[in-house]
Symmetry: C2
Subunit: 220 residues, 2 copies
Amino acid sequence: MSISPKAALLEEYARVAGALSAPARLAILEQLAQGERGVEGLAEKTGLTVANCSQHLQHLRRAGLATSRRDGKSILYRLTDAKALALMDLIQIVAEGNVAEVDHILRSLADGLDPPEPVSRDELQARLENGAVVLLDIRPADEFEAGHIPSAKNITLADLAALIPTLNLNVEIVAYCRGPYCIYAHQAVAALRRHGLNARRMKGGLPEWRDEGRATEGVT
Amino acid sequence: MSISPKAALLEEYARVAGALSAPARLAILEQLAQGERGVEGLAEKTGLTVANCSQHLQHLRRAGLATSRRDGKSILYRLTDAKALALMDLIQIVAEGNVAEVDHILRSLADGLDPPEPVSRDELQARLENGAVVLLDIRPADEFEAGHIPSAKNITLADLAALIPTLNLNVEIVAYCRGPYCIYAHQAVAALRRHGLNARRMKGGLPEWRDEGRATEGVT
DNA sequence: TTCGTATTCAAGCAATTACTTGAATGATCT
DNA sequence: AGATCATTCAAGTAATTGCTTGAATACGAA
């Protein structure tokens, strides 16, 4: 054996990137970005078997992206630190900016309509404090309850159609969801705009909001 | 077929990360970060066969990290943009901060001595303008000639021993090399400090320096 | 201590990935 | 227009990775 330190380092760096190189692990990371989760919960959310999910989690842990602790009977995993979230974001940003295929998929989600630039989190926070804006949290109810932006209204895509007639055409609507890998907000904005409503996406998702130290509420 | 858009996106994101998940490709990226390079040149620098290197380059291009253009007979590859470099940096930062193995290897490079915090590029630039500091570029001569920080002296690790007796014990020495994946500067600093010299590493390498718009010289 | 439960381990299989070799492409240069 | 050269393609093989199944481990509760 006895490989050079340089090769050993490159191997470790490659391992970090490799942890992000499987769609299943990205889905797990998306969940972890929202908060601590048990193995079984993660498996359920991502559609993986428990054993498979556990293996992916160990892969993530070995790469330094996830950390675990015991809580009663179960092991809770979470992102190691903000750097892990930053890495997830950057992967998405590179993909969105440099990979034609991604641009194409995101465009097709907008369904012909040209969605405006997302709202920055700074701008949203200012608008929430002094402007009229309806904030929609497009995630499953359990994720909403575990933490959300104050004043946000939880609504799933399935129930969105029923909400639309009650919305004011003159008030701007902002939608957000899980974060960089989640498309719920994209889809919600497309549906809202199709009905003539003035809707935009928030840049990033709840994890990025929280990571910046902004207020959230919910049972953590 | 007809997979969901969500799954399709995750696959693309995973592809971007996957491009960084092989040591050979990281070595190629390290070279690309220094500037445009032809396939054959990259193959030589990284020790890959030309065909193999070409395949890796296509992988990188498909992930949006590298871009190519023709110049005469050869095809020159380069990093697509600053985001690609930022991604390389962040992978390294996560690995250094969160992977015990990396910390261990970097420590062993320091050879028992405890190296001080690296010098920030801001600080180095200020010191170069008004302070006494010897700046060493620890890279092969051809890479130095292709671009380096003004006033830097090029010296390889092999030739460093001969230089040491001529260095002033009272002047601070700063060393830099290719960037986040390169260990030349680590090794140089360790050698210098072993001889009682006051040496530190510059944070990052030439690519990061250049990316921030700071001056370089050399035949590009 | 014993039971129950959550997680991890281990073995095996299928699919993917990395590398090699040799041939084919395609643009430049004469 | 043809020759040349750098790069890419294609096929084959070895190694790695992802997933499944069933067993083993470790901890908390009774």
